[in-house]
Amino acid sequence: MQIWYSLVDLLLPFSWLQHDFMKNALLGVLLVTPIFGLLGTMIVNNKMAFFSDSLGHSALTGIAIGVILGIKNPVWSMLFFSVLITIAILVVKEANTASTDTIIGVFSSTAVALGIVILSRNGGFNKYSVYLIGDLLSINPTNLLTLSIVFVFVIAIWGVIFNRLLLASMNPSLARSRGINVRLYEYLFSMMMAVIVTISIQWVGILIISSLLILPAASSRNIAKNMRQYHVYSVLIALISGVSGLILSYVWGTATGATIVLISSVFFAVTFIGKLRLN
């Protein structure tokens, strides 16, 4: 960490980066936003916005389970529960009895309700409201280590599975005819989403986490003509929104996650208008 701190002092001698917590937050943003930009492309492609939203909501139950079990760091119970709910959604979806939207809606609202019921026992919900908004400035070096490990893993897995995942998402039978195990990739992708949403939720907040996944990719989609551009723009937009959102939230004294989301939505508006102009 010391290397990072002195590096920042040397290269970016700005007043907003004087404090260590801001240096931590900057590193956090640099690690999290590219992942969001990358995964977001496939989430938007597959129309899974609602799914990522429900993953965020299910975190509430994860926290509640953690509280009941007396776990100090609820991230493990959150991880466990979001993976569980992901599997549940995929299994019920495969049974093909109701539309995917309905299934996700049912699971999502159940998870939220269950979480609120448990956490609001004895009227103590307020102390958990930090999870709703998130607090990026509270990120510490241990968190950053976890994030770096996840960062490396996500990029590596994304590199390995992307092509086959793309084919599977366009037409499962076509993917199958080329020897791709469609289910395996569907599960892998959903699991990755569950993990990345869950571990970033305490910094970004339940309410806006899925916007952070969706907006950069949706903006990029307005202007990209192929997959490469789609990814490059998406990651760039995520990074720029992340860093500028962090600075602005410091200046304005606002919640960082929400500020980042606001900037991403400006990107969406601009690219959308640009697309309309082009057409």
Binding site: L166, S173, R221, N226, Q229
Partner: protein, 279 residues
């Protein structure tokens, strides 16, 4: 668009080293196929024998199980019975390699997936959001030339017309050249001219590459003109197979599709025969 025969180079080898196929001597055998989904029998006792170089069209009323048969052959839906590829020496190989042309792709018109992206994703493991292998462009361009689609290489899939998309997907299914080519013809979205061009292309490719082709079709006129054999699926099984002439004079087929059409076909066919005699 005129058919450029020179562009389609005649070849009589199959991909992979396991076959030494001599034209017309190898075949794909489907024996006693049955499919049940959720306790409901969808197909049973399906027997089909397909020689390479033959275009076998599958016709039948809606919901008869045509697409299910294709999915079962692809291995996407579990089935009973056997699927065998026999080469010239009648030695059964494990499984035929398959190419599949789906009805459509699951993507919206704004999707930033180009034709090159689709091929690169299918051919390489290197993630296409990172970079393309050097030679992929040439290879894709050559493959697309087989179906007169090389000018579409940089277009987005969502921007293609129904007929263009069909030719692109056909080119994809032909790389590598499969033992068995499965075509699921779209119910809508292609105009008559596009459809005829598609049938002509398939027809020429079949001879040049000595392909076994199964085509699920909705256009009986074109089936009558281009298919070598026709299989009529009704009541959960193949009720009748044979040359187009044989099948279209079968009473069950005439009942299913309406008498007028068949009468017209038979008289047309008679005209052709008369004409042939005169020559």
């Amino acid at each position: 668009m005129s058919m450029n025969l020179n562009m389609i180079q005649p070849k009589c080898t199959h991909s992979g080293q396991r076959t030494s196929c001599q034209c017309g001597l190898c075949c794909t055998k489907i024996t006693n196929f049955g499919v049940s989904l959720g306790g409901t029998k969808i197909l049973s006792d399906v027997n089909l024998h397909i020689h390479c170089g033959d275009l076998t069209a599958i016709i039948g009323p809606n919901g008869a199980g045509k697409s299910t048969l294709i999915k079962a052959i692809l291995g996407e839906v579990p089935h009973t019975g056997e699927l065998q590829f026999l080469d010239a020496q009648n030695e059964g190989t494990t499984k035929p390699s398959m190419g599949y042309v789906p009805q459509k792709l699951d993507l919206d018109s704004s999707s930033p997936t180009s034709v090159l992206d689709l091929f690169a994703a299918a051919h390489t493991k290197r993630p296409i959001w990172f970079s393309y292998p050097k030679k992929i462009r040439e290879r894709v361009s050559e493959t697309l030339a087989r179906t007169q689609a090389e000018h579409l290489i940089d277009k987005r899939l969502g921007a293609l017309s129904g007929g263009e998309l069909q030719r692109v997907l056909l080119a994809l299914a032909l790389d590598p050249i499969p033992h068995l080519l499965l075509l699921d013809e779209p119910v809508s979205g292609i105009d008559q001219r596009g459809l005829e061009l598609f049938y002509k292309t398939v027809s020429i490719l079949r001879k040049n590459y000595d392909l076994s082709i199964i085509l699920v079709s909705h256009d009986l006129n074109l089936v009558a003109e281009y298919a070598d054999r026709v299989a009529f699926i009704n009541n959960k099984t193949i009720e009748c197979t044979g040359t187009p002439q044989e099948v279209f004079s079968n009473t069950k087929v005439i009942e299913t599709f309406g008498l007028d059409w068949s009468k017209r076909y038979l008289s047309n066919e008679k005209d052709k025969v008369d004409h042939a005699d005169m020559v």
